[in-house]
Symmetry: D2
Subunit: 131 residues, 4 copies
């Protein structure tokens, strides 16, 4: 179970330093996690039906190399582990042209009840992806 | 040496889950670091005159509580330490109304030469903030 | 009935040309319209209770002057007119320090049913703001 | 001379109303204009060599239909006309799956000297695209 998306660095991702702004990496990672959930059969609507939305607990992100305008990037998302109340995925961003590692991250998430806004146990079906 | 900024959560910071999107926290942290640099006398232009721009090396960010539309937030930035080639700051985001901790992060940065795009030692004047 | 908000130009609003990116003006205008609705007693929740959300029909936006990092800006929103199925507001962005006009826009909006995703007549109470 | 780009609606383009936020359309249009310039041989670097950057003068944008998460969109950019100090392009956004018109816009731009920050005549080579 691994998800891979491609994306093109667009002009509005670039900051005054002429590279991808640090904040945009988190957007790329979110896009890739959505793909991961969908590929696993747990898209936003499916998770809502299970009574949960996912929320960030922690992100630990290493910036390895600058990404530049018009770079074609690949983001890979892999499951790491799931506990009762949180799960984590490993995410890596590569540059297509030379497979250079641009960034890597471990993201820890939890599930909350969208109405009560309280943490709830990870649904068993979602947890099963991690075993 | 500590910097404190206030900001109001705006509609475009909110996502489909009706809270501040995880990616926006990195924007809030960047805004606060800019203030930190400026307060210390090392704004973007001053750093350019020293021959450097700052770039992210790592962010380790804990999401503690949801921030909601129209929340007034405070972001505090404090120096942690500086080495030859990197330095780190601690950043915390509080909700004004009740001082609730929304997020905390340690951000590690480096300085690069904006033309050569290579890491260079942290300028001594900037390093001095951390001692 | 007029709304006025202040905002500070932040680092992530700035693009490679070292001024506020053209797309950020639309964010500033949205923030100001939200304030306009709230001041008039028709915030997001109140409009939901009336069975509607507002959606953009047209924006006609003139960019008059560059806005720069750390500029303090004021955005003023005034009602223009309301018809059965659309209404329009005039919005202007000024720079605080010298009252320079940065941008002005006319924005036309409609109301839709958030479940059916179809246009519905502007609620009478909302329409009354415009007379 | 016409440019066409494809893009996928990503999660961070979606707002609380579960459709693409109005401000993101301006990003899509900017991405498409960059492609238009590049296809015409006037990418950002080439324009810098001609001593100019392009800036927005006016955008007149019609929102025709909601765009939704995961929609594949096409943005077409066509030259309209060029005067001495401004030029305009027509831009349309379509949904791939059924060719539905999502938005159309006329965008008027000018060229400025990036150092003096003053309007300068449109370079002849760029103007020639429009004839």
């Amino acid at each position: 179970m691994e998800s891979k998306i491609q994306l093109l660095v667009r002009s509005t991702h670039i900051d005054v330093n002429r590279h991808v702004n640090n904040t945009k990496y988190l957007e790329y990672l979110e896009w890739a996690r959505e793909d991961f959930y969908e590929k696993a059969g747990f898209g936003y609507e499916q998770l809502l039906e299970l009574g949960v939305i996912t929320v960030m607990v922690n992100v630990n992100l290493n910036y390895r190399k600058e990404a530049l305008y018009n770079d074609l990037l690949t983001v890979i998302t892999r499951p790491i582990e799931a506990h009762n109340r949180s799960f984590s995925v490993g995410q890596t961003i590569y540059r297509e042209v030379d497979d250079a590692l641009i960034a890597d991250a471990v993201v820890t998430l939890a599930t909350i009840d969208p109405n009560l806004r309280k943490a709830v146990p990870i649904p068993a079906a979602l947890k099963a992806i991690f075993t």
